[in-house]
Symmetry: C2
């Protein structure tokens, strides 16, 4: 089973214009990592069809899945669904099951009130869209694009309900904390990264009062490889440069 | 003076792999908005030259400025500067002024210690790069690409030092809070958005215990236009649907 990759696309003029701090991107980053899915990119784009289509097409070339956040409601600034249809080159079609879901939802929340026909805009979906997850509040999925709502609690509910779609081997992470600066670690780290392609070696300096100056991370899906690369870093740097390690069996 | 547009490019495998929650994107979003700069997109990409180049080229087509965060240090995973050179089709060249800055910085922080030659990798810059802002900790700018460091305090310092480069008319924002849901507001909002192209009309529903169900935002650079569009919304919706307004002279 090949571990899957994903890109996240936050559709949100309100984020880019500093009216709202996005909470959905950080949530999805964390959840996808826990599921063993490698994230290829995260994009925040405005509520404009052309901007959404361009980034969606680019994201699909690099990732198995694209997960969108926002822009699925009934108002003029909800443009994710038509943008997905355009990117896929398919039409929008009234989905009768989704129309029924919307009518039932409205009846539950507003008993006796007339159903507003404009809400049916939310049932006009790209051809081929599947309604997965919770039947009463389904997640929209088409051609490996998952269209989640922007309201954070709804996004989480709809993501959780389809999280079985994403699969990956878990990631293993070892952290090495050094009192040396990056300029003294750069050469050994480059050599280890070059020799251990199955892992990612990251180097993160600090310039504050913490007890270390650089945190080196070694991460990958194979625990043995992670251990081997982390030990190779330790072998290449004098022991007095090391403050401590985390996640490393020695 | 045409107000400028910008895209933000966070280079950070550590963000995509959920090891760090990005603070630089939200900071730049807020600061650029305060400066009157319209943000066209924010992208988070991994520490890979091909991924950085692809998003950089796409971002440049839509924005006057691209501001990058991270990937400018001396280690193997610092790839923003070579990626910018490749995107621009120019070479990397040792910048003697930057080399001097690095030597002086090292001498200040590590008096008497030998200068590590590997740090000079940070002086290999895309041809044409200007060193702007603080002469002791300069901001790297080339062809309207601003390359900021990933350490948040350094990023803020280097951004502040060149913030005069960005100019825009300030944005004006009016907020209208309604007790009606989006399904009843969708039609009047679409009509107002259609008739008032100089402003952005946003609609943000809530589903919690707050005193309103939808926040409508009207935003633009022209205060008169913002007021006119906001009043057009109010004229199209019965007064009993309104909870309150903010930022609107009436």
């Amino acid at each position: 089973m090949t571990p899957s990759t994903a890109a996240v696309l936050v559709v949100g003029s309100e984020v880019l214009s500093a009216k709202v701090v996005d909470a959905n991107g950080p949530y999805l980053i964390k959840r996808l990592r826990d599921l063993g899915v490698e994230l290829t990119a995260l994009h925040v784009v405005p509520d404009r069809v052309d901007a959404i289509v361009e980034v969606l097409l680019a994201a699909r070339r690099r990732a198995d899945w694209v997960i969108t956040s926002g822009g699925v409601g009934p108002t003029h600034d909800d443009l994710t669904v038509p943008a997905v249809a355009r990117a896929l080159g398919v039409g929008l079609r009234r989905d009768e099951r989704m129309a029924r879901v919307l009518r039932e939802m409205h009846a539950r929340h507003h008993p006796g009130a007339e159903f507003p026909e404009v809400a049916l805009r939310m049932a006009d979906l790209p051809e081929g869209t599947e309604l997965l997850g919770d039947p009463e509040f389904p997640t929209l999925v088409v051609s490996r694009i998952v269209m989640l709502p922007g309201v954070p609690s709804f996004l989480r509910h709809q993501f959780q309900a389809v999280s079985h779609l994403f699969h990956g081997a878990p990631f293993h992470l070892a952290c090495l904390y050094f009192r040396w600066g990056e300029d003294r670690l750069a050469v050994p780290l480059a050599a280890v990264a070059e020799a251990h392609h199955a892992v990612e070696v990251g180097s993160y300096p600090r310039f504050d009062e913490s007890d270390y100056r650089v945190k080196v991370t070694v991460e990958g899906r194979d625990r043995e490889e992670v251990g081997a690369a982390a030990r190779a870093v330790l072998a290449a740097v004098p022991p007095e440069a090391l403050v401590r390690t985390e996640g490393l069996d020695r």
